[in-house]
Symmetry: D2
């Protein structure tokens, strides 16, 4: 941690701050610039918050030298983490595609889609039973019944499932039904109590990036989960909120490379929520893999025009099959398989 | 709801969409522009989602005519809502100031601050017992013990308290201890299960704006609470996330006027979290009242440099007292009292 | 244009507005919703500004039915525009790569880089002679001398050049020296006098997206150029400003698809300025082509560590050659050639 | 300047970088943290760009200790700058109000408005003759004729004028007609050639903040003007671009305090462009003064519904007069006069 003092900071203030830091176990290096004094703290600073130093009125700026995350950091764990879900490896050489409808509607719907996406090469079935909706008057998902339909359709196709958990009180239900990957949605990325709760489980967690979360905050949320013991975290970029309204969100594909550099965790991309328009999904899925992602998560619906939720961003099984064909051609060019 | 069809949309598609809407009970008006057909839906469209129409590939754009919220809307409730907390009225002529430390630390700390802010004219005591922190390694609040200290200090000064609830499983504790206003923090503004849970209570809720929430989304979150029966919602603007990093967030004071126009709910402003710098708090508190807010929420600490949390944005009781003096002068100029 | 009147708007106000619109040559359709009156204007509304209607206090909302641009719109020009620069076609089946240093430094530097990028398959040489720098104390480019060095190096390799014009008073110099493509930088995207000036030329213009420009505003800036007669406009996405600071800007690759849908103009992507980090350039270049871009613009420097400008985002000729090899493999998968 | 090297950076790389810095005249301090080496450069670093160091692949992060601006910095010029325009002092104890129409239309319009705003206490007359419009098909201003009308109306009321310059080739005209304050608009805030051109004049410059400019970039643009010799720069906050669309822009009132702390230049606020809605203008004008601004710039029109430009955000002379009355009451509370 580097602390820049304000110009003319009194020596007594500087010495007192140094003493406080020494008392907390840090070595302190002082250097004198042309107009300002700079302090360098040596030691494990992960428990320190830069903002805490700013409470001293003579402190001008603070900069971390080490990243604030440890378990999520590549510095502490240089090798890529590969999350194993019933034999499907996320984060390895083979790309992983998660596909399915936004929300589970009927046995025929989820069953038909599961069969189709499996046939096209999807490895994991997605589908929402509990839906976070902006309006209390919108369809909120089928709940437990939806979960049953999802699991049943997945068993028939021998696929693991991923589905969103919105509240800790449903964890028992999720475990009992056998959800394979628990999704934490963008709106709950900083629901810290929920993060801690899934951190105590033995089930992989798919952590979506918050709508306005920096990559550092996202990795800190992964750290929350990991600090409770669960190291099987998969990150999912799904677009961030910007001023541009031509797309639902702005897909931040550079985040893939940033995450790969800073962390060992696998990262996939959701081109459906990112764009909000089905016409853009295939191109953005291709771009995500070209950018180095470990896989994609894609909304597929047999009848998008009448989907109960997010039909605008759902592609048909036919479009999905076509996309999978092109992804298979793309994979080897970026050193992957599909 | 206005639906603009794409150029060359087939007549059969248009007629089918019209029929579907008529089947759902809407009257449909069709008009023909120079190149595009426009449909107008007449009826209660609050349960419709604009995005649902976009799942039709021949739909170009959709625009709401009515706002998507009802209970939170001024159209449905023209008079200002005044929330009464033990006789203190929030949203009336008299401005309300909520003050106290970011986090509760010791009996002496919270007791001393309570006494000081009460003496300066604060009506409600704030203080955090459960703290949402970006890092799992940062101080997470004293928890239940903190709640006890807060309530005890408030009783001594005869002040109601406001404190943050992060998880529904603590609601019993909050009710039992007698928390007067339950705060839902920015990170939980779209934690819909939590909103529904506090919507079923009989306790006023202070709903902070999410870091990247539009005003419409914020009012929809209020609608979540109100749709469950709890109409005592107080909004709190606390800054939004933008590209500018000179302040912690960007305080959006125009939101006050927008909320006042669209909704009947009271709105206060938190200049502490918005700016992140104590030097800016008094000026932004003044600006908030000049902009028409119903009050402010302000972090006050007796020893900001050694605060356990957010000392950088905490003002001292002396600065607070000075600010209150100036707010009292300002109030009548904007037609208020303090 | 759809105009939604406020609830309870007096009939006389509505009739007067209708009359004013009829006087301006529009047909007006009035419909009555459950609580609000909606007017539809039929006719060529491209000269109308939505905001103008908002000056009427009884107008609630306005929505365009037609896009505000005409010459730039695909609706008015369905076929893709292909810009021909000395036989190199931008916007056709063959991808176009523009490469070169951020700023021109010495004859050896620009000559060596030109030779290398040409050998790897770049079609057009880029290089800055006039540099827009945030600080007046930073290197501002070699100016006219730089232009001479660029042209001379390009002639040797038989490549056209693209270089930035910052001020209309240099147009004479650019024409005289024979600049093949004039670049308008992000900071000047709404320098309307400059847009009009290059609109009167017979030279292709590369129009970078402004740092916070919506896609619609960007196309309106293209319209400025085209409305003066110059239809040879190439768009260049180069990242937008968001809250995320891990990258210099946030590359908005969905913009490629949006532009392709709304406009007939070619669009390329600049992964260098977008990311600001050379490690990310190859992955983002691949992603751009996978997303459907017509080409890329890439900063290449023989000695990035000692580049006079933006070395952090410049790749070496070796990395560039490697990237070109992979782009050649990628091209056919997205139906292109390189 | 503080340079943090990456973990495991080779000693030879570090020593070479140190030597390069010493060769450029800096003293270099090296410290060793727990895992990384940190270099501190001592000397005048204003000509250095942080990004230049990032071109070294072994450099992890860079932080400035000194701000990159000098002439605009309060550190170099502790006393407030007061700009004198024909005896009207901007930046002193007395608040300054600039008012007038968005665009100049007719002699009667500008004459009537000038008379009214002068009577209400406005000190300076604003009005646009050259208008930057998003669409080439929108009214672009009356040009030279507009300038004549503005100057003539102002002379009658004995007021100085402020009006926007969009292109350096009009400087001669502006000087000849006697424009008192030259406005540089938000879209041209980084039109560096234009900044340099007005920097060589002896006329005060009103520099609006760019739509997505950080405060640091804004001060760097002021530095461009000042570095050419013209120190009479007035800053004008006019809202920044964010995700929120309920207002035209998001007024960033905290910028006032940030600018006051970092710079000695006067700063005023434009509540008209910031909000885009006339109903919000008075409240935001009050808030701006409460926040510490040196004045406001406000759009006033005698017939906003039929204004040729931006009527939606223009207030009437009556509303303006009422606002001035309240600003006069507010001024002493924040230690000012009006």
């Amino acid at each position: 941690m580097i602390i820049v003092m304000k110009q003319n900071a009194p020596l007594t203030v500087i010495e007192q701050l140094e003493q406080e830091m020494r008392d907390r176990g840090f070595q302190v290096d002082r250097s004198k610039g042309s107009s300002k004094v700079v302090l360098g703290l040596v030691g494990d600073t992960s428990a320190l918050d830069e903002r805490d130093f700013l409470s001293n009125p003579w402190v001008d700026k603070v900069m971390r030298v080490q990243e604030p995350y440890k378990r999520a950091s590549r510095a502490f764990h240089p090798a890529d983490t590969v999350v194993d879900v019933k034999g499907i490896k996320i984060g390895g050489k083979k790309l992983v595609v998660m596909a399915g409808p936004c929300s589970i509607e009927t046995p025929e719907q989820i069953g038909g889609i599961a069969k189709a996406v499996k046939a096209s090469g999807a490895a994991i079935l997605r589908g929402g039973a509990f839906k976070p909706r902006t309006s209390p008057y919108s369809f909120q998902g089928l709940g437990e019944k939806g979960l049953d339909l999802l699991i049943s359709a997945a068993h028939k196709e021998n696929m693991p499932v991923v589905t969103e958990l919105m509240s800790a009180d449903k964890i028992g239900m999720f475990l009992e039904k056998g959800v394979d990957i628990i999704q934490i949605g963008a709106r709950n990325m900083q629901n810290f109590d929920l993060l801690k709760a899934v951190g105590r489980l033995n089930v992989p967690v798919l952590l979506k990036r918050g709508m306005s979360a920096t990559i550092e905050e996202w990795l800190m949320s992964a750290e929350y989960i990991m600090s409770e013991g669960n190291h099987n975290v998969i990150l999912c970029e799904r677009g961030i909120r910007t001023f541009e309204k031509a797309t639902r969100n702005t897909l931040d594909l550079s985040a893939v490379e940033v995450v790969k550099e800073r962390s060992h965790l696998p990262i996939i991309v959701d081109p459906s929520h990112a764009t909000g328009h089905r016409e853009m999904v295939p191109a953005m899925a291709m771009a995500a893999i070209a950018a180095g992602a470990d896989g994609i998560m894609c909304e597929v619906h047999n009848d998008p025009e009448h989907a109960w939720c997010d039909g605008a961003e759902s592609i048909t099984p036919e479009t999905f099959d076509d996309l999978m064909g092109r992804l298979k051609q793309l994979a080897p060019i970026v050193g992957r398989e599909l």
